[in-house]
């Protein structure tokens, strides 16, 4: 059995040992303990959101809308929005976990301060928190798939790949969201996040094809991560791959890397300077 000192000394000469102690799993373990003691209600109820949207828009709006043209084919409106809702809930979940949740632990409960007083580094904290958000997103995506499949909304077995895709885009949002939050100090600044998110999600094409808009607005929408996320999941859902799919994937790779870079840097500056 090793002591704390032996464990830390073993890493003393590893690259980046000041930033990463190789123990992001300890942060995930913490979230599991918290799940048991405190956070199970918000987590358990989180999966209802996309289901409610599916019921409301699928069945209520479906009556008004009927069928939609998608990729040259005519599909039922409910089938059209299902992957969009999956993507949206994955992104929303990741955003909540990485913004308000992180803001609270950073500024109110000072939880990260306590973690970083141990041999853990900022990258352990960032990766651990993000991993937890992704595990949560993964379980929601699986639950959503389990509900939509029996309803006949899933076109084929290959659509199961939409689950890892949802986790992948959640990764992008979680790491980017955490980076932004770590720079924010006031509740007012946090309020701005919600304001930015509203149009981003309303316009991102989860509920209707964005081709209804004039070119300039369509162009702006195509710059936003939410659009790429929804399109990526939708491409996979319908197995409709093209060059766009590759662009969506690259978009999220960039988001993940920049998000992690800035989060780690900022946490180091906040707690190690």
């Amino acid at each position: 059995m090793s002591t704390a000192v032996e464990i830390a000394d073993a890493r003393a000469n590893k690259f980046g040992h000041q930033l990463y102690a190789g123990r992001a799993r300890a942060i995930v373990e913490r979230s599991l303990l918290a799940l048991r003691s405190s956070t199970w209600v918000p987590i358990a109820t989180g999966f209802v959101e996309p289901v409610l949207y599916l019921l409301a828009f699928g069945y209520g709006m479906g009556e008004l809308i009927g069928n939609v043209d998608f990729g040259g084919k005519t599909i039922d409106y409910t089938v059209f929005i299902a992957p969009g809702l999956l993507a949206t809930s994955a992104m929303n979940g990741a955003i909540y976990d990485s913004t308000w949740n992180v803001f609270f632990k950073l500024n109110e409960s000072k939880l990260y301060q306590g973690m970083l007083a141990t041999p853990l580094g900022p990258l352990d904290v960032a990766l651990g928190e993000i991993t937890w958000a992704l595990l949560r997103g993964l379980s929601y995506a699986m639950a959503f798939m389990a509900i939509t499949a029996p309803l006949g909304l899933v076109p084929g077995v290959a659509a199961i790949l939409a689950i890892p895709a949802a986790v992948f885009i959640a990764f992008g949002f979680a790491s980017f969201g955490m980076a932004i939050t770590s720079y924010f100090k006031t509740y007012q600044q946090m309020g701005m996040i919600n304001i930015v998110l509203l149009p981003m999600f309303l316009f991102s094409g989860s509920l209707y094809p964005i081709s209804v808009y004039p070119d300039w607005l369509e162009f702006l929408i195509k710059l936003m991560p939410s659009w790429h996320g929804i399109e990526l999941v939708r491409d996979i859902w319908f197995s409709a791959f093209d060059n766009g799919t590759l662009i969506h994937v690259s978009y999220f790779c960039v988001m993940i890397v920049t998000g992690l870079y800035f989060t780690t840097r900022r946490l180091r500056n906040l707690f190690m300077r």
């Binding site: 059995m1 090793s2 002591t3 704390a4 000192v5 464990i7 830390a8 000394d9 890493r11 003393a12 040992h17 000041q18 102690a21 123990r23 300890a26 373990e29 913490r30 303990l33 918290a34 003691s37 405190s38 956070t39 409960s109 000072k110 939880l111 301060q113 306590g114 973690m115 970083l116 007083a117 141990t118 041999p119 853990l120 580094g121 707690f271 190690m272 300077r273």
Partner: protein, 308 residues
């Protein structure tokens, strides 16, 4: 001095134009209980954070267990137990879960931590609260839990930033008792405080800081000897008469301090001086002879004006 665990030379920390810690030197020996005293803003907490390897110095050198915190932050932190000024316990977890997960942050095995938790719960007198969420604990219990948490990794150095601020007398005494026992087991204590009684109780040696500088250094007794007298006589003549009497008293002892409500006279024998005063028919309305304390040293060195 025996083997020095912490050694700082010319240690300086600047935040922009503001110098929080200004070229200080100090050493802490193994097994010693070392105190940083000073008013708010003196630079105590900044110094603590540099020792804890969570803040980087601007200039000077510091070595902790022979290592530089800028190179070996995680390795140094593995030797330390940190008790911050404000408790940052995990509010979503219970008492035992707090201890458990903190051990996991150090990478300790579950088996080791589980055994350790029992020991720590007993030490912190929290056995009956083991499954309670920390939000439901009193201030004193939270403080004891924070200290227990800092001990989960069996640290060589325990860092305490104002350990008893905000606690009632009972809770303070329990805490002092626990810290004293720790010291007996060979743990080195580094603490900040602005309570003089606490410093006298806990510290073998201390430095008084003001404006980022070290003003004095020594054991509590040495400091009293150097910066104060054996006794202090406090006399009151009413705020009107204090002024006219003061010049007469001034000639009667080495050092005298006029405050708005009373006059302090620093002497070796307070009773004798009081008799002298009464013999001069200067009848004070109240009088008090007491031993000089660290508080007198502190006020002499850092001044009486409010620092905010």
């Amino acid at each position: 001095m025996s083997e020095s665990l912490i050694s700082a030379r010319g240690l300086t920390k600047k935040y922009g134009d503001f110098t929080a810690v200004n070229a200080i030197d100090f050493d802490v020996a193994k097994g010693e209980s070392f105190g940083l005293l000073g008013p708010n803003g003196a630079g105590k907490s900044t110094t603590m954070r540099i020792i804890a390897a969570t803040s980087q110095r601007t200039a000077g050198t510091i070595s902790i267990l022979g290592r530089d915190p800028e190179e070996h932050g995680p390795q140094i932190r593995a030797h330390l137990g940190v008790v911050p000024q404000q408790d940052n316990l995990d509010g979503e977890l219970t008492v035992t879960e707090n201890l458990f997960i903190y051990g996991r942050y150090f990478g300790l095995s579950k088996k080791f931590i589980r055994a350790k938790i029992e020991e720590l719960l007993e030490f912190a007198q929290l056995e009956e609260k083991r499954n309670v969420k920390v939000d439901a604990l009193s201030g004193g219990m939270k403080r004891r839990l924070t200290i227990a948490r800092a001990l989960v990794s069996e640290p060589d150095i325990l860092m305490l930033d104002e350990p008893t601020t905000g606690l009632d007398p009972q809770a303070r005494h329990i805490l002092w008792d626990r810290l004293f026992r720790l010291k007996e087991t060979g743990v080195t204590l580094v603490l900040t405080t602005h309570f003089m009684d606490e410093a006298e109780q806990l510290c073998d040696r201390l430095v008084v800081m003001d404006n980022g500088k070290i003003m004095a250094e020594g054991s509590p007794l040495e400091l009293i000897k150097v910066y104060s007298t054996k006794e202090v006589l406090e006399v009151r003549f009413g705020s009107e008469r204090n002024k006219e009497v003061a010049p007469i008293l001034r000639g009667m002892c080495d050092r005298i301090e006029e405050l708005p409500d009373r006059i302090l006279m620093y002497v070796e024998d307070g009773e004798a001086l009081l008799e002298e005063i009464i013999a001069k028919k200067l009848h004070p309305t109240t009088s008090l002879v007491r031993r000089s304390s660290l508080e007198d040293v502190f006020l002499r060195l850092t001044g009486r004006s409010l620092i905010e």
